[in-house]
Symmetry: C2
Subunit: 267 residues, 2 copies
């Protein structure tokens, strides 16, 4: 196989397997090439990604070593994604009675969830989360794509206990915005002790659901590595969780007056 | 930029954008190269993918033309994935009282949902679905990854009507296995007339939920392009839907006697 062909196939494999350590030996055997040739291939890939700021290829030495492709977007690219999302959302046709915005198409979009998931993953790479947690339903696509970019499992809390999931840990929590009591359940086998959990959700108003998830994490003797939401509301300023990151901040929505004000968060 | 660098960046872009027509001009401008050079790059990528049976690069002529990367796995690779899944599932620790199997970790796994989504997408590429439909909750990851590989939107039916989603179409249907009446709602703006809908779900026993989804599709004057499920049960043989494809077939599960029998479907 020629170098040009190997470059194509190795790049495809790395793109499909972010944040995974792959030994050089794997590529050498797969493409029947000397380790030194693979090493040169990887140098070309590394410099190409770095040149166009489309990810980082890391080399990890030692017996357990290899290469690891990590998602990394330039600040410009992230800002341009957030700007694109604000523009998309800032559309009067999205207004729904009760001062809501229709976001389902964006949240369930494979393209946007993929891109948003990468941005969230990148932000929390250094915290080395061992899994991503969300609560059904609308947080799932973003959380799944974040988990993909981090190469960790996704864990989904349910609103009700499911017979198909075995013994579970259940908590009640108070919704920050409505003040109502809600439930959340997670199968006992879904989360191990000492897990470092990245919490991802689509929307945060009062922060009650996010806080509920941190409490659920604590029930498992695991640790919250971070909280990321797609959109948080400007008000109330005091949320029920302290440290969280939001891609977009919803300043105002008034359906009757046709007002949507949304801006990129500090990201 | 050198050819080797362009090969890396174009391959990455194509891998991240399956089933999307990309004009040569896009790459020519992005990498500041002549169209003829880009054309040669694409030929190398095409032959590499074809050589290793890891996808197909199609060239579409004409003004709206360009190249399109489509997922395509060899039969061997698909069979080996199905075998791997059977082995993973065939584990007594997964048995749950009531003759259930714990599958949540597999269904929510970014890695498996990505690979399964590709296999489903590939199977239905020729039907040219314009969107993927599932019902919350466990079908979402597979459906999302299928939609990603097809480059079409994902639409998720909800069990209850949500105030945040505006006017919706609601149906009641009879669950094939339990015989109970269930509800399903889809926002009116989620599906357009004449949509060709690929229905994806995680599990099928009686087929009532899948049938409910086809009825929902009909309410929108849209058309069902196909039905794919991750696992269907051998019994009852007669499902409430006729044409469906299942990756795996569950022959038997008996928790008390420690029995799981599962095999690859005809795929």
């Amino acid at each position: 196989m020629r170098r040009s062909q190997r470059l194509v196939l190795i790049t495809k494999h790395l793109t499909e397997n972010p944040n995974k350590i792959i030994p050089l030996k794997y590529f050498a055997e797969r493409y029947n090439a000397a380790k030194s040739s693979i090493s040169e291939d990887l140098n070309i890939i590394k410099s190409s990604l770095s040149y166009s700021m489309e990810g980082v290829l890391e080399t990890l030495p030692g017996a357990a070593g290899g290469v690891r492709y990590r998602v990394k977007n330039s600040k410009d690219k992230i800002q341009s994604l957030l700007g694109e999302l604000c523009e998309l959302i800032n559309d009067k046709n999205r207004l729904i009675p009760g001062d809501y915005i229709y976001l389902t198409d964006i949240i369930f979009s494979p393209e946007y969830s993929y891109r948003i998931g990468e941005v969230i993953a990148e932000k929390f790479l250094e915290k080395e989360p061992t899994c991503v947690l969300t609560v059904e339903t609308k947080g799932i696509p973003l959380a799944l794509m974040t988990a993909r970019a981090l190469n960790v499992p996704l864990v989904v809390a349910r609103r009700d206990i499911k017979v198909t999931e075995g013994p579970s840990v259940n908590i009640s929590y108070v919704s920050g915005s409505s003040g109502r009591i809600q439930n959340m359940a997670l199968p006992k086998r879904a989360l191990s002790e000492k897990a470092r959990v990245l919490i991802v959700d689509d929307f945060m108003k009062g922060g009650g659901t996010a806080r509920g998830m941190t409490e659920l994490v604590r029930e498992f003797n695991a640790e919250t590595a971070g909280i990321a939401v797609f959109i948080s509301t400007e008000e109330p300023k005091e949320k029920l969780v302290k440290n969280y990151t939001s891609l977009l901040v919803l300043e105002k929505v008034e359906t009757l007056r046709g007002i949507i004000k949304i801006r990129p968060g500090i990201f």
